[in-house]
């Protein structure tokens, strides 16, 4: 297997998505990740539990985070944080870098994919 640096791998993949939910809802996070992977094959989708989330965020450096919890701090490079509650009656909250916040009262996969698509359309940083 050809060894790749993290930076070269990032250049090949258009959008990195991390789906993070508590281990009690492993099925949710793995299904959401799998669904995004099927419908948006150009994305790199990983999953993580909430324990050690900060470590995974630093390691994977995702541009989009789908999480059952709200964002605790803004990080450069992280473009969108989607708070997707496990309680279906609570709204999905989408926080974009720069502070723009939107809510979706009836969260759908389509709305989630729109976030990924929005990031995908952003101009990519030029390589060295």
């Amino acid at each position: 297997m050809r060894a790749e640096s993290t930076e070269s791998r990032k250049r090949e993949v258009h959008t990195r998505v991390l789906v993070a939910m508590e281990d009690e809802y492993r099925a949710y996070r793995e299904m959401i990740a799998a669904g995004i992977g099927v419908l948006r094959p150009s994305t790199e989708v990983k999953t993580a539990g909430l324990d050690g989330l900060e470590r995974e965020l630093a390691r994977l450096d995702p541009q989009v985070v789908v999480c059952s919890r709200p964002e605790t701090e803004e990080v450069e490079g992280r473009l969108v944080w989607v708070e997707l509650p496990l309680d279906p009656i609570r709204p999905m909250k989408i926080r974009h870098r720069g502070g723009h916040l939107s809510e979706s009262v009836d969260p759908t996969l389509e709305a989630l994919l729109a976030v990924v698509d929005g990031v995908e359309r952003l101009p990519k940083p030029e390589g060295p």
């Binding site: 281990d23 009690e24 809802y25 492993r26 099925a27 949710y28 793995e30 299904m31 959401i32 990740a33 799998a34 669904g35 995004i36 099927v38 419908l39 997707l84 496990l86 279906p88 999905m92 009836d106 969260p107 759908t108 996969l109 989630l112 994919l113």
Partner: protein, 153 residues
């Protein structure tokens, strides 16, 4: 992405017989599953995964007991599998289990719950669930369970 029809159906139902599939694949191809869960995103991705990784041909969605009843009525209960959220409000998941066992006993049901309470699991199995999965299950386990029940339908 598969389009959603007016009756809430997604999947490969519009595919023609021109698709090159073997006999085993064709048998799985026409399998219909009813997904009942009030978490819309989870229900949608579950359908996508079951279609693409478990070979289900038609996926039907319901977000409540009422929607499930409507879909079951429209399809005359003609499903190969039902996946039911046992945590639906007002015990609707268990009510649906009872109705499925009474009206469509040939349809295997997999219950899904966030609870690890063994009494709840026993209650669901007694009510007609063929298997109960918790939300701690992996994606592979869910797909494998669905395929196992479809194979026995």
């Amino acid at each position: 992405m598969s389009d959603t029809t007016k009756d809430g159906r997604t999947g490969s139902s519009a595919r023609t017989a021109d698709a090159a599939v073997g006999p085993e694949e064709e048998a799985v191809w026409t399998k219909r599953v009813l997904l009942v869960d009030d978490h819309g995103v989870f229900r949608e991705v579950l359908g996508i995964v079951l279609e693409h990784h478990a070979g289900f041909g038609e996926i039907f969605h319901a977000g409540s007991l009422a929607e499930a009843r409507q879909t079951l009525g429209e399809r005359n209960g003609d499903f190969n599998l039902a996946v039911v959220d046992l945590d639906l409000p007002d015990e609707e998941g268990f009510e649906l289990l009872s109705e499925l066992r009474a009206d469509t006993p040939s349809v295997p049901v997999v219950g899904v719950t966030a609870s690890t309470d063994q009494e709840l699991r026993a209650r669901a199995l007694a009510a007609g669930a063929g298997e109960v999965l918790t939300t701690t299950a992996s994606g592979e386990e869910i797909v494998a369970t669905a395929r196992r029940f479809v194979g026995s339908a």
